[in-house]
Amino acid sequence: MAHRATEAQADRGIGRLRRVQVARLPALLSDPWVLSVLMGAVVLVALLTPTAYLVVWSVTGTDIVGILDGGTLHWYATVLSSIDWWNAVLYSLLIAGCASALSLIIVTSVIYQSRQQGPLVQTLGTLAVVGPLLVPLLAYGLALRLTAGRVVPWEWALLLLGHTAIIMPVQYFVMEAGSELVHQHALENARMLGGRFWEIVFRVWLPQMTWPLSCAAAIGLLISFDEIVIATCVIDSSTVTVPKKLFDNIYAGSNPAPAVIAVLVTALSLGILSVLLLIRRRVHD
């Protein structure tokens, strides 16, 4: 019932597939998968070269961007030995984790609930959640400082709220793009069998959404870890997040601190991923 429309479409499309496929090109190149893999490889290389360059820059950079020196771990030493940097990384991670989780809860409930409502409510819901993309971040940052600052006097709370709001639209779009992975049959059956609201959500709906959910959670984390505008508007003290610290350091000189932080954060994420994979393997065994 749910897939009727797409099955009909597929039937119609395939009905016209009686033509013989004449391969004039060499067999390999006529294969779209091979083509896409080739093109994808080129794109991947182009995408990763600037990022890989950061590793090079972090060990050979000088105070001027674009001038390379001999190899030196001096920049790593500066960053790793400074307690301020460790504080900043921890602070950023905490805020990022909480903001991403909060936003995920809000977005997931909006997506799940909106299916049951009429189109008007769904449209309004979408407008509410997509809002932060439509307004320049600086305006929101100042608004947060000015208005919310009276109600919520703590910096970390304002930061958390701001980051949650920013992450919401992106997670919403990512999850909506993949929300068809859920089989409506299963949901219908569960409801008919008398499943309660929370049971259906946690046992039927969420397990099918693991891929969009994890993508959305990861994206949320990354966005928050990388966010500078709200941090600049809201942070008054010297307890800063990583991007704000990088930004402040720009006034000192264009040293390779961003590259060092990039490499360290990459290592950190690889570490977290491996831990997660190990846990998953344990759970499955």
Partner: protein, 346 residues
């Protein structure tokens, strides 16, 4: 269930009220905010904050900001002001007085007669003169070096890409100087003439820089041949600048002011700090570290001689510069900004 929720609400309200209450008036620490990190902040810490703590026992918490006036305004208007002393540009000083976001100072510097005229105000005390100078790559032009802004506009004798600050302030004056207007007759600015002159150089401006370290960066990597630059940044990297030179001719000087944002909890202690930071020996020490010109004339005499050539307020450098007229800009900066944005986009 409902009772538990009620109790939670009540206790959280009480907790919030307790946190929001102001601490007692005897300050244990002041928060002093200066521009960007690195050398500049360290110069403040060494020359001003640590001596102040030694002298009075009040700790000074050093925070940096990016001179974004809107942010300071939002902070004052929100009522929650954790900053006690802030360093602002003269444009922001004027604007802040008009918009009422600064506190009146409760204490004046002791040696007020040593100060240059117009550097002590009701709402703040000027800290340093900093200058926008003409910097250039020494090897860019065979034999000749640029000396005035007229040379900056001369693309036949001095070919090559240029860079200018992304703001009409300063650039309008440079354009007029290049067009032959004498320094004494700059203000009120002939805006039409300035924009006409700027139109000539626009195709040759490769970068409109917005961040103080960019000119150093651009000149060192050879992306541009000439650029306007803040002298303090050049001073900070002077040991690495063999191939970059700069001149004081026609440099635009502006003041930096120490102010107290309205709503700060420690107005008295902050005023005391400002008075302390404006004394001659403190300013001299700071100048040696960062190269900006102290407003206290006596301080200049205390500065080490090999640093003097980089200071704008010395006998030799001062006559070649001009001071940007803060009151003209106070009246016109909004419309100049809108016009600048439109002009750049053409």
């Amino acid at each position: 269930m409902r009772r538990i929720v009620m109790m939670l609400c009540v206790s959280s309200v009480v907790a919030i009220a307790g946190c929001a209450a102001k601490p007692p008036s005897q300050p244990e620490s002041l928060t002093v905010v200066s521009y960007g990190g690195g050398a500049y902040q360290e110069s403040h810490i060494e020359a001003l904050f640590q001596p102040y703590t030694q002298a009075t026992g009040t700790k000074v918490n050093s925070v940096v900001w990016d001179a974004n006036y809107g942010r300071l305004k939002a902070m004052v208007e929100s009522g929650d002001v954790p900053w006690d002393v802030v360093e602002v540009t003269s444009a922001q000083y004027q604007r802040g007085i008009d918009e009422g976001i600064y506190e009146r100072l409760l204490e004046r510097p002791a040696d007020a007669s040593d100060f240059r005229p117009g550097t002590i105000g009701e709402y703040g005390v000027a800290n340093v003169y900093w200058g926008t100078v003409l910097a250039f790559r020494k090897d860019a032009f065979r034999g000749v070096t640029p000396e005035t802004w007229r040379d900056f506009w001369d693309v036949t004798r001095f070919p090559g890409p240029r860079a200018l600050y992304d703001d009409p302030r300063g650039n309008l004056e440079f354009a007029l100087l290049a067009d032959g207007v004498p320094k004494t007759e700059l203000y009120p600015l002939d805006v039409e003439r300035a924009f006409r002159k700027l139109e000539e150089i626009k195709p040759h401006v490769r970068v409109w820089w917005s961040d103080g370290t960019q000119p150093v960066q651009l000149l060192k990597t050879g992306a541009v041949a000439m650029s306007s630059a803040w002298n303090g940044r050049l001073f900070a990297v002077r040991s690495e600048l063999e191939d970059v030179g700069y001149v004081w001719d026609g440099a635009a000087l502006e003041l930096d002011w120490w102010v107290i944002p309205k709503g700060s909890g420690h107005v008295e202690a902050s005023s005391r700090f400002i008075a302390f930071a404006s004394s001659a020996d403190r300013l001299a020490r700071q100048a040696e570290l960062i190269g900006y010109g102290p407003v206290n004339r006596r301080a200049v005499r205390l500065i080490d001689s090999h640093v003097l050539v980089h200071i704008p307020t010395t006998q030799t450098n001062w006559p070649r510069t001009f001071v940007v007229d803060a009151s003209w800009w106070r009246d016109h900066e909004d419309e100049m900004k809108a016009r600048w944005i439109a002009w750049k986009a053409q």
